[in-house]
Each structure stands twice: as structure tokens, then as C-alpha cells.
Symmetry: C2
DNA sequence: CCACCGCTAGGACGATTGACCTAGATTGTC
DNA sequence: GACAATCTAGGTCAATCGTCCTAGCGGTGG
């Protein structure tokens, strides 16, 4: 809390609003109200809306990296660490049913807007992918680790989309159980199986 | 072609623009330019933007039903019919890499906008789900048919999200191959396996 | 020939958007 | 305590949004 407390607050609230309402649909005024400052004050901290988006993506990259680091400490085994990832779907089920996955929906929106920051947003996925690949490699899957990581990411994204489309909590639990079964089928298998 | 050729043209172009640019980001002016008519002329056919959205969703519902009906004719076996669904990912890979899945991204956006039409948009998913469930039931999966249908829908949605995030065509082919292997593991199995 | 009606064009509306400016308040430093 | 840098508030800007109105076009029926 050395200097930029207001700036951080702006990024934090903008992060939430971008998630819950989308980037395009969230206006300067919306963020200003959420933070509790005037619209004019905004321009002192961020010159453009894209600058806020950049800061939000940076924040998400940093927090994701921190979360993955924390999971390394909590879960001692690779399997437990991967389960930490899978269980985001359960832990955040309420918000996911309402707004989908923060990363997936942002990437989708930025892709449609043909926004230059889309590739940076996709790097949040890469953090998960690389981290998961390390865990799969520790499970004994050498060559297939990256592919398994992408598949797990894919599966969870699908669950997020369908869960928000139907707002079905039971569906999330069913699919998560399926992912866990799939995970336990992966360990040390020589023949690839999806 | 009895009467409403202009109206149909509006809905058709709006459908494309909503897919490629998103509902919120597409303005009346954008659609008018795409159709080649004046903005004022718009109001004669659609009083509100939501009315256009309704018409677009109706169009998608109708066209989806027609496509599923056509697949019944093309693919004689349930497996071939399901493969027709899976191969949308390959056939439409270019657009999917650029804009994601039309249904999934629309549902996600409407969810964030808290738009009343979200549940109607989700009915497009239901058309696929019910149709797929019929095919899985024909494969000998009685009780698990609906669950398998939802899983296949989930998987394909995940592929669409990740494919657009990374714009990776090889990834699509890899996952589609995985889906096909999964499909062939399903037929007539008594013990559920994901 | 005229009255009518579906369709079109183009402008105008109030509101809101992202962006920007300026003046005052606050803070920190010497 | 004076000064400079930083932060804040509130207003203004042109552009664009969805919405709406009206005048004119073209064909059809009486």
C-alpha cells in the first residue's frame, strides 16, 4: 500500500465488472460508481479503456500465477494438485453458472471484438496449461502431458459454458465426477485413452 | 418468397453480425449497412433490437432443427449421425477459430447481459442435446443417453472456446480424434466410462 | 384517376459512450 | 510555511447508441 491504492481499487472493481457484465458493456461510469470516485478522476489513472483492460489482464495473470503457486504447496502429489484445478468448477460454481469462466468468456469476447489484447488474455490459459502439463509429467506422462493439460482445460471450459447456459448445478457435479474418473485413468498409462 | 424478403435478409445478416461481432457490439447502423437499406427503414420491420435478437434466435432454432433432420437422412446409423455432429468442429473450423461457437458465445454474452432471451438461446443447445440423446439411446445406452449427449455437447463447446483462444487448427483435429475414440468406446457399454 | 397502404429514406430525439480539460484539494519536501 | 507534484471532482466534447417521426415512393383496388 505504498502509493497506488485507488488505482488498484479501480483494477479490482473493473476486473469484477468485466467478468460479470463483459468488457464492452462495462462503461467508465459503471466502474467509477463501483469504486466510488468521479468519472473525471479516472483519466488520471487510466488514459484509455484499453489501458484498464491491460491492467485487468495483468492482474489476472499475476493472481493466477499466485494461485497455481499456492496449489503446489497445498497439494503434495500431482494428482492432488490437478484436483485443485478441477475443483475450481465446484468452488466457483455459483459465479460460473451466472457468468461462465472469467478467462474463457473474456477470450471469446475479445476475439469477436477483434481486440489486440486477446492474445494476452489467452496467456492466462497458458499459465494453467503449462502448470497442468508439469503435473501430468510428474504423473508419468511424458509425451502426452501437454495434450492432457489442454484436454483438461478444454473439458473444464465446456463445463463452464454449458453450466452457464443451463444454470445447472447438478450438471457441474456430474461432469466434475467424470473428470476425476478420467484423471485416475491417466496415471502412468502407456496407451493413450481419452 | 411470398412477401418478407427484406425482413428475412435483415435477420440473415444480423445473424452473421451477431455471431462475428457479438450482439451488443452490433448496432442498427451495422446491420443496415450490411443489408444495404437505411436505418430508418429498420424500424418498419423491427421495433426494437431485442425483436431482431428474437428473430435471429428463431432462425437459428429453425435451421438447427432442419440440419438435425437432414443428418437423420444422411447418416443411416446412430454412430454416423453423431459423427455428423462432431464434424461441425472440423467443417466450421475457420469460423470457430475466429469467433467460437455461435450458440455458446451467444448464450455466454446474453448471460452476462442478464438478457431475458438467454433461456431461448439455450434451447438451441437443447435441440442438439435431445437429438444426440436419441442417437445414444439407439446405440444401446438407455439411462445414460442424456448424460452422454450433454457430455458430447460439453466437450465440443470446450473445443470451440480453446480453439478460438489459441486459433489452433491442429488442436481441433486432435480433440475431434479424441471425441471419435470416446464415441466408439460408448456403444453398448454397460459400465459407464468417461 | 384517385385514394390507399406497404415500404423506404433520411433526419432528429435524448441518452450514453470514451475521451479530455481545468480548477481546486491534498500531500510530501525542503 | 511555501512550493511543487499528485490526486480529485465535475463539466464538456464529439460521436454513437437505440428509438422514433415524417415525407415521399410505388403498386393495387375501386
Amino acid at each position: 500500500m505504498t502509493v497506488p491504492v485507488t488505482r488498484d481499487l479501480i483494477v479490482e472493481r473493473a476486473d469484477d465488472l468485466f467478468y460479470e457484465g463483459g468488457f464492452e458493456a462495462t462503461s467508465f461510469a459503471d466502474i467509477a460508481v463501483a469504486v466510488g470516485i468521479s468519472r473525471g478522476n479516472f483519466y488520471h489513472h487510466f488514459k484509455t479503456k484499453d489501458a484498464i483492460l491491460d491492467a485487468v489482464i495483468s492482474r489476472r495473470l499475476r493472481r493466477t500465477a499466485e494461485m497455481l503457486e499456492a496449489w503446489k504447496a497445498e497439494g503434495s502429489t500431482p494428482r492432488e494438485r490437478i484436483l485443485s484445478f478441477i475443483h475450481i468448477l465446484v468452488v466457483n460454481r455459483t459465479k460460473i453458472m451466472a457468468f461462465g469462466c472469467p478467462v474463457g468468456t473474456l477470450c471469446s469476447e475479445l476475439a469477436k471484438l477483434d481486440h489486440g489484447a486477446q492474445s494476452r488474455a489467452a496467456k492466462i490459459f497458458s499459465l494453467f496449461r503449462d502448470w497442468l502439463a508439469v503435473q501430468f509429467r510428474a504423473l508419468g506422462l511424458e509425451d502426452e502431458a501437454e495434450e492432457r493439460a489442454m484436454h483438461l482445460l478444454t473439458w473444464s471450459q465446456g463445463v463452464a459454458v454449458m453450466a452457464s447456459a443451463y444454470r445447472d448445478e447438478a450438471f457441474i457435479h456430474r461432469e466434475v465426477a467424470g473428470i476425476e474418473r478420467w484423471l485416475d485413468d491417466q496415471s502412468g498409462m502407456s496407451i493413450p485413452q481419452n
